[in-house]
Symmetry: C2
Subunit: 149 residues, 2 copies
Amino acid sequence: MAAATGLTPRSIRYYEEMGLLSPAARSQGAYRLYDASDVERLAFIRDLRDDAGFSLAEIGRLLEDEEARIRDRARFAAAGDTAQKRAIVRDLIARIDAQVAILEGKAARITTMIQTAEARRGHLRAHLAELEGGLPAHDGRTRHPETGP
Amino acid sequence: MAAATGLTPRSIRYYEEMGLLSPAARSQGAYRLYDASDVERLAFIRDLRDDAGFSLAEIGRLLEDEEARIRDRARFAAAGDTAQKRAIVRDLIARIDAQVAILEGKAARITTMIQTAEARRGHLRAHLAELEGGLPAHDGRTRHPETGP
DNA sequence: GCCAACCTTCACGCACACGTCAAGGTTGTG
DNA sequence: CACAACCTTGACGTGTGCGTGAAGGTTGGC
């Protein structure tokens, strides 16, 4: 499992201990046994941690929602009343809305930082063009207009 | 300063201790004194920490680059040779390219997560529409097409 | 000049996210 | 069945990012 996800065994056990993973199936000798869906889930946790920079607590909340969603699906299947079903589905949608809002906020902040950096880069490129226009290059490069970003 | 940035005094001192801030100016009685650029820098650190989810070590690396950039500007001003100047500017651009790449990678991962969530939401909305189409609402709401997100 | 409200530097404490042994049990292969 | 290579559960250690006093100094307003 560690090899499959790039995580350490210790981290995987820790995530199970913290409730991010449902306790793994066990062999007769108490070895943990994982299936493909466990690998997926762990990879997702790893991505949330490494790529989105969420803390395990935040990941836990997201996955709680995920599990609440699954429980809701069960409740949904059990619910006879259509009005109840609609209410459950609306709740699910609202939860996803909240998650999307959090992620979009994060993406927006990062986009702002990217734009700031690109603005600086633009200035530097203009400066470089100015330098290269002022004096011809003597390192083999030829001057040419640039239309890229 | 804490009030201006929403950080705690302890955090601010810690960031100075960790080298994220250059040591603040001091009053005659050794009180730290900050100016507007310090506020900006701290707010930037706070955003990198809270919004982008960077560790202080990562922020430190980004700001090191920032300071290398400033040093490079000085080197640039001192450089007499135009070829040297161009080399310095190209280095600066390359550093920004690297930062942008990191940020864009992060943004892309988050965008992927958003799309996954939105796909789920789309399915749920279709399901909800199906439910509402199958049986008319009896809670005062009227059915109507939705063109929003 | 006095005083409340701030600031200063240690110094210890704590929660998170693991790393790292220790002591023992399990598994698959020869 | 022997054995290397894995796994198990503790339990303690570590680095990060601060919180929380303690003991004292500084500042600005009256």
